[in-house]
């Protein structure tokens, strides 16, 4: 390389650096210049799966004057744990994403202050797990269920399983992949589903049988769904060989929505007898700098507008009774009539122990 080119390269690098620095400085002023008490920004802390459409966030600003700043911090468990660590000096005003499996951890740590959101009377009663104190407000529900690859079962002329007991049948040997209950939220949900259906003493025996029927455990949902499950887009490319996976009841509509061109029928189905119901909550953070804005945001999260926007952004179900589901859900989604549930107090008391004995039974 000759000297001229070298000088040119150095000059170019320097010029780029300056321009970019200027750019960064600019964008920072624009977005974070106005936080603090009495400010017009309200900060929502959440997990990576939080999504809302731009139009809905703008509508909130129009109605209340507050601009929403979203802060995503890892998966559901990690996001909640970071809030617990910063308790009393939170990064935001509202936290969204504590679900019924982790709710007790949030409440026991005194993360939230009470606030009864406006419009709570429209919210389904069975989702209001803190109805006495209103430290948290239910926002959405979702069902963790076994999904199946329709093509596999059609080709084999085999009925897909439909209950926890079905999964133990020899016909489904070596077909199921699930997630690590210690680190993955669908993995934990599925474990809790088996506890609900098999009983607090029977679930261990159930998992022993499931293990000898060839269940495969991987660490996270991404691997299970994209790498091991033959019904997903990623799995088809990866020549995956497990036609059963623990995922969500809303996964089939997602497969339709994000296909190009969109098929007439979802490639995957839901074993509706294997579902565990997850309820996600939001709450006003203790020590929030913008309490008024936080309250307004909580009201908005259970407004009809936000609730109807939610399904196609986060692939969960609304909790308010007057919210209409999008056609994609009614057409391709599964209706789960009797999901398994475990009372939050029971989960709080036994979660660690269940997960530990599950680990020693299934993983080691």
């Amino acid at each position: 390389m000759n000297t001229t080119t070298k000088y040119a390269a150095t000059a170019l690098a320097a010029a780029l650096g300056v321009t970019v620095l200027a750019g960064c400085g600019g964008s920072d002023d624009k977005s974070s210049g106005d936080t603090g008490a009495g400010s017009k920004t309200v900060t929502l802390v959440s997990h990576d799966s939080f999504n809302a459409s731009d139009a809905v966030l703008k509508a909130f600003t129009k109605q209340t004057g507050y601009k929403v700043k979203v802060l995503k911090s890892g998966d559901a468990g990690a996001a909640l744990n970071q809030e617990i660590l910063t308790k009393g000096s939170p990064r935001g005003d509202v936290f969204f994403g504590a679900d019924n499996t982790l709710l007790s951890r949030a409440l026991d740590n005194g993360l939230f202050t009470s606030y009864e959101a406006e419009g709570l009377d429209r919210v389904a009663a069975d989702t209001q797990l803190d109805a006495d104190e209103h430290r948290v407000t239910p926002i959405d529900t979702g069902d963790i269920c076994v999904n199946y690859d329709k093509k596999y079962f059609a080709d084999k002329k085999l009925d897909p399983p439909n209950s926890f007991d079905d999964l133990l049948k020899p016909a489904y040997k070596n077909l199921l992949v699930t997630e690590n209950a210690a680190t993955s939220s669908p993995g934990l949900g599925f474990l809790l589903g088996t506890v609900a259906s098999q009983g607090e003493t029977g679930y261990q025996d159930y998992w022993k049988k499931l293990k000898s029927n060839g269940v495969k455990v991987v660490d996270g949902w991404e691997q299970a769904y994209n790498e091991e499950f033959s019904g997903s887009a990623g799995g088809r490319k990866a020549k995956a060989d497990r036609p059963l996976v623990v995922s969500y009841a809303s996964s089939p509509p997602v497969e339709v929505l994000y296909a190009d061109p969109q098929p007439d029928e979802a490639p995957t189905g839901v074993a509706t007898g294997t579902c565990f119901r997850q309820i996600e909550f939001a709450g006003l953070l203790d020590g929030a700098k913008n309490e008024a804005g936080g309250k307004a945001l909580l009201d908005f999260l259970i407004s009809k507008q936000f609730q109807e926007d939610m399904p196609l952004n986060m692939f969960v179900n609304p909790v308010v009774k007057d919210a209409k589901l999008p056609e994609l859900f009614t057409k391709f989604g599964a209706t789960v009539d009797k999901p398994a549930t475990v009372a939050p107090e029971k989960i709080a008391k036994n979660r660690e122990q269940w997960v530990q004995s599950w680990s020693s039974l299934v993983v080691k």
Partner: protein, 537 residues
Amino acid sequence: MAVPVAFFALFFAYPVVAIVGRGLKTDGDWQFGRIGTVLSRPDILDVLWFTTWQAIASTALTLLIALPGAYVFARFDFPGKQLLRAVVTVPFVLPTVVVGTAFLALLGRGGFLDELWGIRLDTTVWAILLAHVFFNYAVVVRTVGGLWSQLDPRQEEAARVLGAGRLAAWRRVTLPALAPAVAAAALMVFLFTFTSFGVVQILGGPAYSTLEVEIYRQTAQLLDLPTAAVLTLVQFAAVGGILAVHAWTVRRRETALRLVDPAQTSRRPHGAGQWALLGGVLLTVLLLIVVPLGVLVERSLDTSGGYGFGFYRALQSAEASGSTFLVPPLDAIGNSLRYALVATLIALVIGGLAAAALTRRAGRLVRGFDALLMLPLGVSAVTVGFGFLITLDEPPLDLRTSWILVPLAQALVGVPFVVRTMLPVLRAVDERLREAAAVLGASPLRAWREVDLPLVRRAVLVAAGFAFAVSLGEFGATVFIARPDNPTLPVAVARLLGRSGELNYGQAMALSTILMLVCAVSLLLLERIRTDRSGEF
């Protein structure tokens, strides 16, 4: 020296000590008894044992496979050498989320080995070991090959003229000169595999876990801070030990070796043996590195309507990603480049100052600081990230929601690369050159401009390139901090992979391919700029 010390104290030592302290203190009292309790748990001992033996096995395997590569890159001239050297370095900076995916395609069901011989490695520890070779191949090729290409072959020839056999000449002359570089490379590979996170998490499943993975689980998932703190201390001790040995080998290497211009030592291979060696190395690189990378490219183009650029087009709109980011995923490229540039500037300033200070002063304290600067490479990102959360929470340092935190965290991993690249060059500037310039009448400024600057400028560019590449690929710390309206490339890829649907998966592959290209292009530019190969990486 004050600036880098302050930087490390504030953005590394303080957060890490605070989070460890949170785990080990109750009501202000240290509970060191917890160390014993945690370390006597059988599951923790399993983790320790697996971490150690897989790191040893990975290091041995990497050396075995990469040393012939180092020789070939050092001594042979062949078309496309520069491109290939850039390609083998790409894995080093790619996010493991993506690579794990590609690797499964090679080793798993329906993969290369499966189709040819029916061998599946995806459920065995071999997958982890081979992926570690994939990631660290470049470390050996660059560290050992860099030095090898500068060793004067005439020394070996002289020994042979004096009557030594071929093997004896190599053993007596080349091997001793090379040994410290091999040791340094081995220790770097050991460090990287000892603290392996993504590879083990994806390919190892829930059954295998390294210390780093366990620290992540205990901190982020279980919030068991006492256990995480003890494990952090254990990892600290281990990494500290590795770095101490590393620093010792580096010092031994800096003892005077007669180095020559690499252009003089490499030539076209001749004879069947040399061609076979070259062929063997090229085949290894093809199978182990090019094929997994190729799988990503293939998947990014494999749309349901046949091969095409559909997923790349989808990257341009926020709509197609279901507003996962509020912005088109393609914007992530701009974000990544911006963050990486700022991180590079910070790393250059901090690392440059540190390297300058280390050159001028010697002594135990300064050498200790040298090793200290390398520590961020061996400390869990989640420890640093969570440490940031509980320490940088008060004005004027409430940086927890500020964009600057991303480049700051990235600079922490970039600094060691800057120091390691610049230090040998700075130390090698011959004092006599400056004296000669002065004798010939040059002012001190002119002497600096004519002597130091031309030598150092190259090192600065090389160091900048590495810091840049490392920042581009950094995931662990960034994921905790990056804001949704400006995700970096690796964060965007991870978020796309976190949803079902063909378009999301395809876009993740397309973004990974773009990240790969950005890395490869930066590294190629680096290869062109770089004419001096005495740096370590």
